[in-house]
């Protein structure tokens, strides 16, 4: 896998001042938005398509972003996946191409799992998944 496209999630080791339900994503402190809060779809835009989503709010700006549900882990060694899953029962493996692992996590555990994996030396990167609207012929 090339570096540029999958580059860096900043896995900063300390979270001074971080809220208990927040975590650091790409250098920004974010929190999970509870469904049904004020951060609904913008007017005039239709609702997201039928994909399970996660909505994160940037704590500094209030900026909201929506991702597909689940995490993608880049592992230092693919062979370490089994042990990682065993030690983190909250992770449910979806698929593991090469040194990546797509996992699902219950929303209420997302923040804590994200923080814990950020400190795990077997995990090189953690990312959320992009929303993927339906493909259209061109």
């Amino acid at each position: 896998m090339i570096g540029p496209l999958i580059a860096l999630l900043s896995l900063f080791p300390d979270f001074v001042g971080a809220q208990s339900d927040s975590f650091l994503l790409n250098g920004r402190q974010v929190e999970l938005v509870v469904p049904g809060s004020e951060d609904g779809p913008a007017p005039r835009a239709s609702a997201p398509h039928a994909e399970d989503t996660l909505t994160l709010r940037d704590l500094a700006s209030g900026q909201v972003r929506v991702y597909a549900s689940g995490l993608v882990l880049k592992l230092r060694q693919p062979g370490e996946l089994s042990a990682l899953l065993r030690e983190n029962p909250a992770l449910r493996l979806q698929i593991a191409p090469g040194d990546l692992a797509y996992v699902s996590v219950d929303a209420q555990q997302l923040s804590s799992v994200f923080r814990r994996l950020s400190h795990d030396p077997r995990v090189v990167e953690i990312q959320l998944r992009a929303i993927s609207p339906p493909l259209s012929p061109r």
């Binding site: 990312q127 609207p133 339906p134 259209s136 012929p137």
Partner: protein, 709 residues
Amino acid sequence: MRSFGWSTASVALLLTACGGGGGGEAGGVSPENVANDPLAVHAWHLENTGPSQVVPAIDNAGALAGIDARVGAVHLGGSGITGRGVGIAVVDSGLQIAHEDLQGNVLAGQSFNFLDGSADPSPNSRRDEVAELDHGTAVAGIAAAQGWNGRGSRGLAPNAGLVGYAPLNISTKDVGVWVAMDLLKFGAGGLLSSEQGFSTEAQKLISTFGNRADKLDVFNFSAGIDWASPVSDPHMFDAMAIAADYGTSSLRAGKGAVYVQAAGNGFVRSTTAYLQNGQRLPGPLDCRAELAADDLLSRFSEQAAGLSCLDSNFELRGQPYFMKVAAISNHGRAASYSSAGAVNWVTGFGGEDGLLRPGILTTDDMGCDVGSNSTAAQRLVSWFAPGLADRLSRLVISLLGPSAQDPACNYTAQMNGSSAAAPTVAGVAALLLEANPTLSWLDVRYILAKTARQVDPHIAELTYTPTGASTPLVLSDTWVNNRGGFHFQHRYGFGLVDAQAAVALAQRYETPAGRRSVPVEAVTTGGVRSPALPSTSGRVSVVEQSFDFANPGELVAGPMQVDLRFQNTLGRNINPGMLQFELLNSESGERSILMPAYTGWYVGGKFNPIPPLGGAGFPLFQQRFLRRLLVWPLDLEGAVAGWPCRRCPGPEQRELDPVGTCVPCLLSAQPSHPHPILLRPVLRLTQQVVEIPSCFCCQHLPSPADPQA
């Protein structure tokens, strides 16, 4: 395929359309283009003889002879280079493998239907993409319909092998299945194993698919997602890129498969467009309508006629591996719909609607009860535009409903779009791989770029004149030539693909020396804040950020990826679609407009503004400098933009904020105008820049190994 709609304007045009040859006699077509394939003579993308060519469309007056793929001298009537031994995957809505003009090239048992796990991706009653049933069959025919078999027309690579992977979308929430599907259909099954812990469905899919894609050479993807802005968060894992990364390094015994994608059909508007959060914009995205509503249209040259509403840099899944292919029509200019962007690589043949003006003649799902060419389609045209139907029926050839030339409705002339353009390039890529099997995927890209033809030489630049500016801001350049001898324009990439020149170069090709095997990265430190903006012109502010590539003595060549990240420090919402991102090579003075202001992002930005202290990060790709894969994370703090006043309901001029709420204008005396920011990061190389395409380092002068240097 683009959908077409009937409007008063099109019907009026029909009534005044000049004949120009739609019903005339064939003229000037070379014998090898006629023999044995009865419809090939009408396929202008194979050989365009000009206005006198008989085509299945009403108006051929604008045809420009020679605007074609130049394959006649390559095919040599079937005895030349025809794609033999090369396998093309059509990743699409379906592929009718039993089609009379495809079956001879279909690789038995190698296709796949992701709905039922069979090796038959043909359209059938289980398909849920009813409107798209015929798309993949049409795409396949353009790439590799069988040649010299007495049927239909022929593909660009008439003897290449074909497989189909379909459909494009399936209904499941199983992420494992989705990811596996993305990897398998693009040849990356080698990354997967039926491992315990996957869902049962994913395991079954992986094991059923097996290694059937491992021997393929070219992957054509005439599909995509129509975003209304660049996709945010560039660092997220992208299954298409993961697959193509594997495919370019592992398939073809390490020489890499060739990946081709349609650039998109959103130049004027887009029927659908998605925001970064997955929401779908209501109705079509129409940039010029939005700009008109905001009283901005007069600030653009030619009323923004040269503005690409959707930029091909909006969708970057699969980059930098997939060649983005734009579309041309037979009059020698970009197809009316073809999306522009700095990421476009080359141009293929897309045509227009295929009724009034020529589209692309190709295979269609067999029978008059299915496909684009059907009695239902004929009835539809007759109903909405009886005059058009009547004129079509009187043409020498008409592929709308049963006809003398095609009584069983097995072919269509209404295929069009960048969907049609992509397989023309995929077909030419197959010709190159037959001509020289040692070519790597990078070699193929290089050859296509090097030999592409500069068309539409007088295409105008697009400008926008902000309030108070003495000189307009250029949003899109005319053709530019870089110092490596490459010409580039955002609508065409490096130009129109030329099979004859490309094959000739492939046959005497030697890989340039000094190719870099790993990306070069250059990283800036710190950012530029708005109070320290280095220069302004009118209400255009310029932010420049310089950086050096780290390794002294290195030159770089190849496409470039720029990872941008900025933060809004203004204290109010900004619309990122009002920013323009450029790359300036301070050494050569060459500039690349990575993302112009006022594309569809301007509309999408109204829904997803950047709040105070909020930020955005996204990758943009450019080919203009023809260097490869330089990661450039920027921290450009200080993006500045005003929000345009609009006429909200009510008597007062008020500002419409990004979520559609009217608030008092900050400048109430007159409508304020956007203040686009020209982010002009300065690329500073450590040595004189010399373009050595597909060579990633080390040469000061064009390498002797560059066959055309």
